[in-house]
C-alpha cells in the first residue's frame, strides 16, 4: 500500500473557518480518489504567526504536540496539512527539533508538563495536500478516475510564499525529476493539467500576497493582491487555483476591496485546486463548497461548460 493512501489529517484552524470549503473539497477529493484521512484527535493550533512572535519555541511545541498525537497515539507515519501555514510550521518544528538542542529541551519540558509523549524528530513525515494527491495517486491514476474535464479552463496556479520557503525546511524538494521545486513549484500545475486544465505562464506564482498585512496595512495587501490578479488576467487566466486558505481568502477579500477602495475591477475567479479537481472527478460543486467562495466559480464553470 502506498504510504500516502491513509494519512493523519491536520486541517488546522483556518479550515474550520474561512477555509471551510477547502476542508470539504479536500475530503471529497480524497474520497473520490480512494485516499483516506484520519483526523488528528484533539489537535491544536500550529502556533501560526501570533505565537511564533511571542515565543518561537512555544510555536515549535504547539506544532510538535500535533505531531506527537499523530505519531504516538494514532501510530501514523505521515501527517497531511492542506494549509500552507500549518504545513510550514510543522516542517519548521521538525527541522528545529532535529537541529536545535534548545528547541528539544523546551518541547520536552512542556510536553512532560502537559502529560503527553515528547515528539522526536524523524518520527513522522509532514506533507501538503498537493504531495498527498500527486504522490498518493499520481497524474495517470487521476486521469483514469476522471468523470469530467477542465478542458477550456485557463488556470494561473498560485502557491503563495510559504509552501516553498525557507528552502532548508523542505529537504525533500529540489531533488530533481519528480520532486517539487522551491523556485518553480509545479505539483498543482501537474495535477490540474492531468484534469484537462490549461495552465498559463504565471510569474507571480510564489509572490507574497501581503496576507500578514491584511489587518495592519490593508492598503499594501490590496495593492499586492491587485497586482497578482491583474498579472493572472494578463497571463490569460480565467481562474486562480489556490492551495492555501489564507492566500485564498486574501485574494477574494482584496479583490472586492480593490474595486471599492481603488476602483480597480478584476474578473479572474478563485477556486481551491481541490474544488477544481473535485469537479473533474464528478463531485457535486455543493459538496466541494464552491458556493461558499466569495468569488463566483459556479458561473465561470457553467460558462466554460464544465458544469
Amino acid at each position: 500500500m502506498n504510504k500516502y493512501q491513509r494519512v493523519a489529517y491536520y486541517p488546522g484552524c483556518a479550515l474550520e473557518g474561512t477555509g471551510h470549503a477547502y476542508n470539504s473539497s479536500t475530503k471529497a477529493v480524497g474520497k473520490a480518489l480512494g485516499l483516506e484521512l484520519d483526523e488528528v484527535k484533539d489537535w491544536n493550533c500550529c502556533g501560526a504567526m501570533e505565537v511564533k512572535n511571542v515565543d518561537p519555541k512555544v510555536q515549535t511545541y504547539l506544532s510538535s504536540r500535533v505531531m506527537s498525537i499523530a505519531a504516538h497515539e494514532m501510530k501514523a507515519k505521515v501527517v497531511m496539512a492542506p494549509c500552507n501555514g500549518c504545513y510550514h510550521n510543522l516542517k519548521k518544528a521538525e527541522y528545529d527539533l532535529a537541529h536545535d538542542a534548545a528547541s528539544r529541551e523546551t518541547v520536552d519540558r512542556i510536553s512532560k508538563k502537559a502529560g503527553h509523549e515528547t515528539y522526536q524528530a524523524g518520527s513522522l513525515e509532514t506533507i501538503h495536500a498537493l504531495d498527498w494527491i500527486k504522490d498518493g495517486i499520481g497524474e495517470e491514476e487521476l486521469k483514469r478516475r476522471l468523470k469530467g474535464s477542465l478542458k477550456g479552463l485557463k488556470v494561473a496556479n498560485y502557491y503563495g510564499c510559504m509552501y516553498t520557503r525557507p528552502r532548508h525546511i523542505f529537504p525533500e524538494k529540489d531533488r530533481g525529476a519528480g520532486s517539487e521545486s522551491t523556485s518553480q513549484p509545479h505539483f498543482m500545475d501537474d495535477l490540474l493539467a492531468a484534469a484537462g486544465a490549461e495552465n498559463v505562464d504565471f510569474p507571480l506564482k510564489t509572490a507574497c500576497c501581503g496576507g500578514a498585512h491584511t489587518l495592519s496595512d490593508s492598503d499594501t495587501s490590496t495593492k499586492l493582491v491587485l497586482n497578482i490578479l491583474q498579472a493572472a488576467e494578463a497571463a490569460g487566466a480565467d481562474v486562480i487555483a489556490t492551495e492555501c486558505p489564507t492566500c485564498h481568502s486574501g485574494l477574494e477579500m482584496h479583490q472586492v476591496r480593490a474595486e471599492k477602495v481603488l476602483g480597480k475591477k478584476t474578473k479572474v475567479r478563485m477556486l481551491y485546486f481541490t474544488q477544481l479537481l473535485g469537479v473533474a472527478l464528478g463531485v457535486s460543486p455543493r459538496k466541494l463548497g464552491v458556493h461558499e467562495n466569495a468569488s463566483d466559480g459556479i458561473s465561470l464553470l457553467k460558462e466554460k461548460q464544465i458544469l
Binding site: N53, S216, D217
Partner: protein
Amino acid sequence: MRQQLLAQAEAVLEEWMKARGEVPTQETIEGFRLLALHRQGARGVPSFNACRETCREIAYHYNLLSGSPEKRDHLERMMGMLVEHLSLFVRGKMEVEGLGEFCCASRPLRQQSAVEEGSDG
C-alpha cells in the same frame, strides 16, 4: 524598456539597502546586479526571501525580452508587473522594519503600548 525596468527594480532594492544603512553592492550574480542586491538585502532578514523568486522572474523576463519579438508587449507588461510587485513588497517591508517579523508585526507594537500603559498608570 527592459533596461529601464531592470534599473527600476535595482533602485527599489538600493533603497532597501540604504534604509538599512548599508552600501548597495555593485557585484552581480548570474550576470544580474539585481540578484546580488537581493542576496545582500536578505542577509539577516530571512523573510526578505519572500521576494527572491520575484527578482529571479524579473531577470528571467529580462532575458526573454532579448528574443521573442512577437511577444515583446506581453513580456514587457509582465516584467512591469513583477517590478511593481517588488516595489510594493519592499515598500510594505520598509514600513514594518524595526517593528518585528514581516509575517506579524504585532509583538513590538504590543510591547510599546504596554510600556505606555504602564507609564500612564
